[in-house]
Symmetry: C2
Subunit: 329 residues, 2 copies
């Protein structure tokens, strides 16, 4: 019988799952070529405007294959509904039997994206973080910070109570930045920046999370030793970083070299002839080779995350495995 | 909250749904160009062999969009599982909210395929059926006959007890033909044929339902006035009818002209240069134009059904609507 897992149970399972580790394993398998990930399916709607994406695939010799349906219907808030909707399906890879339906309403996509951000910070951010900068004030801004909090808390010795990390927030809408700062104040020492440049002046770990179609951070803003993770740009038109930042960077990481050929910051920088298409290194490759990671506290490093189906496979499998082991306990 | 409908409830709902009418409406919308049906998604598996197809789309201005996941894992019977697995998902077309999950295990695909066969018989079979021939003895053979039984029963005046229609069955495996004949004996006067040619000699309505890759029926077997519905061939390699039968036919119907360019009997006949690619007429077009339907009892007519996502949209919507109205009653 197919197991139906509602959002409340998904959230509970996630508290026991090490998502950053799961993403690391997934990206490594992806870069080793052990994943089957066909092109994304798409349905577009006009009245009202909406789009649905179907991402699917599997890791060879794994237990499951996964299909994710995720949609954005941008008039939904007028009806009191979230714009993002969707679910994930897990099927047995050996029989095709549908094993589980995760009614996640888009939550797992947010979480796997944020966990990839924390994974990148683990390997590419400088050792000493003087400030964490966040461009954008939406759900992804909040989740990126929560995953970074989980990462840095796990790295602090148990006996040592960690000092609250300084965070600088910038968003187009100042009220939203204040609201986010309020939510996060128990975990971070939050400051509201007046501009993206002020974020860059105070932070050496920056995450950009907006749907912007023009650069918010300029090359002249960036200090030596900064790491930037760009998660907002996932289409051919979206862009948060001046392409010269990628030219300046010592290391440019792509979560999927194949996807970077048609979308995201790397695509924009290659189009602008700011970087050579051979400069980016795939995340899963860099994770298994220390010489492809940050070498010192002066390097500028960039990670461009456009989102890969292997992340969906990993998070859905982890939630279901936890659900199963809880049932047996 | 998403409604989960298990197979037992799906089967119960179907008893109250006029599937042949639903298919007719769907094919007409499809041929009018009112359906959005992107290319089919596919996942292939090697150990063990299996394949999964993702069919999805919507009828414009309808209530839902539908995603169907259907797989075939051919070693499943060794594990006591059906080869076919799958489910259908209905989402609100205006908000993306997942409204219903139909855990149909492939059953709705069988039913919509059989209902399309009966729809074709309604418009293209001769008025007087001297015998119904079935090539193949699997689930689809049985369901095609049950849908034809429903069609002809609905056409018989209430006061008149219908005479059992003669049926001729042929399958590679004689035992399977005997088993099927036993199952259907309460509805039909069943005969086992020694060859496909014997089926053609005794029947003027024939349905072919096998996964054969070489012609089972030859042009010389076919009598004037025969209608043949071919449902088995849905890939570029499968073929049940000698291409000369399509050359001989007065009318050749395709459920989807677009799909007939790459699969099915029509594809094979065009490749063999037996017919011109412009000969086939699309089913939904023919349904709305009596001059494109059978004109007399001497014509030979062929319908090549490769299966179209609009059928999945129609059957899933009909089941869910019935489920909803039952909940409210």
């Amino acid at each position: 019988m197919t197991t139906i897992i509602p959002l409340s149970q998904i959230k509970q399972s996630l508290t026991s799952v090490n998502l950053i580790d799961a993403m690391e394993k997934g990206f490594i398998q992806f870069s080793l070529g052990n994943c089957v990930v066909p092109p994304v399916g798409e349905l577009l709607f006009d009245e009202p405007k909406g789009d649905t994406h179907i991402k699917y695939g599997y890791i060879k010799k794994d237990n499951y294959y996964v299909i994710k349906i995720a949609s954005g219907f941008y008039d939904n808030p007028q009806l009191g509904l979230a714009s993002s909707q969707g679910l994930m399906l897990l099927f047995n890879q050996k029989t095709g039997v549908p094993e589980a339906i995760l009614l996640d309403e888009g939550y797992l996509t947010d979480m796997r994206t944020a966990a990839a951000g924390a994974l990148v910070a683990k390997y590419f951010a400088p050792r000493q973080i003087k400030g964490i900068g966040i461009i954008g004030t939406g759900i992804q801004a909040e989740q990126q910070l929560m995953q970074l909090h989980a990462l840095y808390e796990s790295q602090t010795a148990d006996s040592k109570k960690p000092i609250k990390q300084a965070v600088w927030l910038w968003g187009r809408n100042c009220d939203n930045a204040e609201i986010l700062a309020g939510k996060l104040s128990q975990y971070f020492d939050c400051n509201i920046a007046q501009s993206p440049a002020q974020v860059a002046a105070n932070c050496n770990l920056i995450v950009t999370t907006t749907p912007s179609e023009s650069a918010l951070l300029q090359a002249s803003d960036i200090q030596p030793g900064t790491h930037i993770t760009a998660v907002g740009s996932d289409t051919e038109h979206k862009q948060e970083l001046d392409s010269q930042i990628l030219a300046l960077a010592d290391i440019v990481i792509s979560d999927s070299i194949a996807q970077s050929k048609s979308r995201g910051e790397i695509y924009r920088a290659v189009c602008a002839k700011a970087i050579d298409a051979r400069k980016p290194v795939e995340l899963g490759t860099a994770l298994t080779n220390a010489s492809l990671q940050r070498q010192n506290d002066q390097q500028i490093t960039i990670a461009d995350l456009t989102g890969v189906a292997v992340q969906d496979i990993m998070i859905a499998s982890a939630v279901y495995q936890h659900h199963l082991s809880n049932q047996q306990a």
